[in-house]
Symmetry: D2
Amino acid sequence: MLNIGVIGYGYWGPNVARNFHATAGVQLAAVSDISEKRLVLAQNQYPFIKVLKGPMDLIRSTDVDAVAIVTPVFAHYEMAKAALLAGKHVFVEKPFTSTSAQARELIDIAAKKGLKIMVDHTFLFTGAVKKIKEVIDSGELGRLLFYDSVRINLGLFQHDVNVIWDLAPHDLSIMAHLIDKKPVALSAHGSVHFEGKYEDIAYVSIEFEGNGFIAHFHVNWLSPVKIRQTLISGDKKMLVWDDLDPDEKVKIYDRGVDVKSSNGGKDGIHDLLVSYRSGDVHIPKLEGTEALKAEAQYFVECIDKNQEPFNNGQAGLQVVRLLEAADESLKHGGKRITL
Amino acid sequence: MLNIGVIGYGYWGPNVARNFHATAGVQLAAVSDISEKRLVLAQNQYPFIKVLKGPMDLIRSTDVDAVAIVTPVFAHYEMAKAALLAGKHVFVEKPFTSTSAQARELIDIAAKKGLKIMVDHTFLFTGAVKKIKEVIDSGELGRLLFYDSVRINLGLFQHDVNVIWDLAPHDLSIMAHLIDKKPVALSAHGSVHFEGKYEDIAYVSIEFEGNGFIAHFHVNWLSPVKIRQTLISGDKKMLVWDDLDPDEKVKIYDRGVDVKSSNGGKDGIHDLLVSYRSGDVHIPKLEGTEALKAEAQYFVECIDKNQEPFNNGQAGLQVVRLLEAADESLKHGGKRITL
Amino acid sequence: MLNIGVIGYGYWGPNVARNFHATAGVQLAAVSDISEKRLVLAQNQYPFIKVLKGPMDLIRSTDVDAVAIVTPVFAHYEMAKAALLAGKHVFVEKPFTSTSAQARELIDIAAKKGLKIMVDHTFLFTGAVKKIKEVIDSGELGRLLFYDSVRINLGLFQHDVNVIWDLAPHDLSIMAHLIDKKPVALSAHGSVHFEGKYEDIAYVSIEFEGNGFIAHFHVNWLSPVKIRQTLISGDKKMLVWDDLDPDEKVKIYDRGVDVKSSNGGKDGIHDLLVSYRSGDVHIPKLEGTEALKAEAQYFVECIDKNQEPFNNGQAGLQVVRLLEAADESLKHGGKRITL
Amino acid sequence: MLNIGVIGYGYWGPNVARNFHATAGVQLAAVSDISEKRLVLAQNQYPFIKVLKGPMDLIRSTDVDAVAIVTPVFAHYEMAKAALLAGKHVFVEKPFTSTSAQARELIDIAAKKGLKIMVDHTFLFTGAVKKIKEVIDSGELGRLLFYDSVRINLGLFQHDVNVIWDLAPHDLSIMAHLIDKKPVALSAHGSVHFEGKYEDIAYVSIEFEGNGFIAHFHVNWLSPVKIRQTLISGDKKMLVWDDLDPDEKVKIYDRGVDVKSSNGGKDGIHDLLVSYRSGDVHIPKLEGTEALKAEAQYFVECIDKNQEPFNNGQAGLQVVRLLEAADESLKHGGKRITL
């Protein structure tokens, strides 16, 4: 039985608590929050748990084997470090940390202590992403050409981070999970529209090693319409993921590019004829399980079997590095940052 | 009566010819094309016109007062120059020329000769763009925040130009027409996926003078789905133009951003509270006239009244400059090009 | 303070309990259900309430001033009658009763006892229906022409009722609420596809007094796609309500029919020219409150102020009469039933 | 070489002429129209044809082997009869005739004379209907449950017929082509909203022999939105045809109904458990040929090979019988008419 403590009981914390509570092999043992009101709520919902105001009290508590850190990003590093040093496994919200140096340090500590870190990249556990991964891994799409992601709506301005840190961790973690290619450079363009605030709209382009694969991300708090769309094109088939479609989220298009070598032509010049091809569309049925529930189970399983989660500290670091590079690029007018 | 000759009778030429033919005050006088077959077609459709194989014969013909150049872009400069020097007004396909130097030279010649140049930015004459211009000019949207355009589909690879030169002239000319702000820098990211071909996917970001306004363009020949969508957000209202929607192309959202100054808070720090606001949506009825028809009439009118068209050489040059800068940026890994 | 008891804690009962619990001036006092498991759940959620297995115990309990009956329809009459006779106000699920005779009897008892009956036509309290009522009542649509409703999906077969009794009460109660016209006849067509089951698809047509207004309802458990769409056309404007659209549920089209009298023509014959007209579309913002919450508040208010609810027993009876007529028509091959 | 004459050169006639003109083995020989202006147009487009004001002159002309009748429905019978008696094959617009008696007489004459009648049910030659027929004939959908068709928009009022005769021939002919079942009764409900005009909205229900299959049609000139949707559900799979979707017209849903016999339950009562099932969706690629072109070719082929077209007089009669029954039902308040 794994005893888990949840730090932070604001918007997302209750979901994390509820799902760990519902997971076999886990005991929800404690919750901490700086707000008394939230603690009362937690206690009402789970009369059997300990509620604590100070996160460090929870971290140090001997009743707890693992800690779920569901706080704003700036606090992740300090709490995760304390938890690891106290010998606790760590489940931490995305983005993992505020800097890649912090992420690396946490990874090192966990390795030395033989503890697990799991970064809450929840989307990786949705039916949609699982199906897309299956499709890509099967080679069905052929050679991958590009990844284009749009995540925009009239969104709440965050107090402490720009729109990239708020929204792009979803898409960057999904892309890193799906695409088995090495990013080599990144550029970001964005804009601050309200004095004293952070970027509220941004575009991030990522170059990859070899072959022309390119990824692009549009994140935006100022769009009148809500769009959550990802295009992944291969030369054999192409895939569209519309996360807002209630029934038909993932569509696989039997559309592609045919390249024929044409020797000859006038002057015997070798030419490449590029044409396109269009066939049926397939909409696979997706698993319906709640993503966070599957992730909670996976966390327990990884600890039980001493198995490294795919959404481990390293995966979290990868996203943080891209976020850092994006900030660096923004600061220098869209400069290409080598990764 | 204005006698017009059309050079190039391939895909778009017949539309240009048909619309000038249908315009009061214009006489379709001649058509030239390098293909005999196309000339036979033209002659059948308009038995009363002259058909000529050589474009220069058409340009020099005394039966012609104005020339419509509907050829691939590389030929625009030479033909337009010859036509202007021969004293003919010029209607020319977009993009205007292959280089901004060429564009400037043509503008100069026309000025000296007292002739008109009109660049065929057809979209400016659609009901949608006319309505959007009206809305923006009225100030209804408030302070403009961003312009985001997506024009993607499984498109034909062009032999002589990349996807930016193929598709972006539409969007750049529309943006320049709608947005009364000065662009100051541009970056482009793209990729070549097929050896020996040009970029088939690209993203262009444009910075503007003052105030954080930003524009972004996604053009793509490799998308399984067709999207033609433009978002224009202001701080008071926001607009979405979906050119593929048969009935509801332009939607104006009474959504915006409210900024409140909050003096005080702890430590007496001055803070800005940004929240958003959501109201009704309005879908204006759009004019239904064929854009090219309206443009043909406008060409004649500008010549008759000796009035400078808004889609003149200068407007064409502006687009060419942006295209050139995009190529330059692509060549240098997305480098920021000052305009 | 109104003490309320909820009978039935299956699918919908918990929502009813939660909303009455959250309503000022109401005390959730008791819950009954035939399932022990459901009672344990209710007790956990509301530790302060009485839980009772037998509904009659709840009805007779002196701790209760009003009863919410959230059971299958066949039990409504018996329980509502017992509750009224015990002097309790009644909130009852739709459809009100199994027969119009039962409905009339309950209305009579309530009248004699000075008690309120409210039938849970929840949709009447949604932002969409409230806005549509406002639009219709304002006369904006002009003369009403037709009401067309489609409510279909791959739905659960009910054990005790056909698809009309399952789905149409929503639409019939909405229509009766919105349309101030007297229905005069009804025909229903449907089909039973699985032996021993009830109709799983049905179409109901209703004629109204005067002027050609017509209403039609399509309800269906066998549709692969989910549709919840209502069209209400007037001769001045027309309205479409798509309840599945997350943001743009109600659209008002400035489209209509123009009728011009044409005196003359050849032979001096008087003729009517009917043409149509098309203008802007308007999408009003809708209130976002939870419908059931508003309804619970309204129940308390009606009791407090001794005011007759618009969704009273009479409104419930009207729907039951239409359902009865539909069954009668189905039984006789779609025969026209005079109302 | 088949010489064809086209009677009626209004809205649809030019399409018929153009397609026969483009068909191998056919010579467009003559066009007749009561309007001089239309004849001038026809002559300009096809300088080599005879143009005639009187249809009977065309019918009697020895230059013509077959006649395409593209006139309002009231004239079909007279002209088709004259053409058949003159020994000409007949291609005739839908609906075939104004009465089933007329249709029967024409079928008889054609049979005696060894001539072909083809009724222009153009939709049967679209890629969508061809694919749907293939799917249904393969048995993929399982036992067919219902056919539901909606064809509505803000449509032009016809002078001589009601909305059923205007729009339903499309859907009735498609349904008859796809569904190999015998209709046994029909009911129609509709309304006349403008004095002196015909029904502008109508609903038609058709019962079929055995098994509970039911068909329903909604046709409407007063809808603010345009809908062209057909649902065809089977117990194994279900199909949706949205004719307005540019790319994804036909969707096949792997959704169905599972029926399990449950012996037992309490009291040993035999019960049927009906549940539903949901799987992938498949969107087949459709043939892109112009329907009328394929139909014109088929007409020639049927004559050449002396083969009976599937859209022959009998198919036309079937539709006319349903239209007649609909009128009869409308006249009697929705009375069930036995077919």
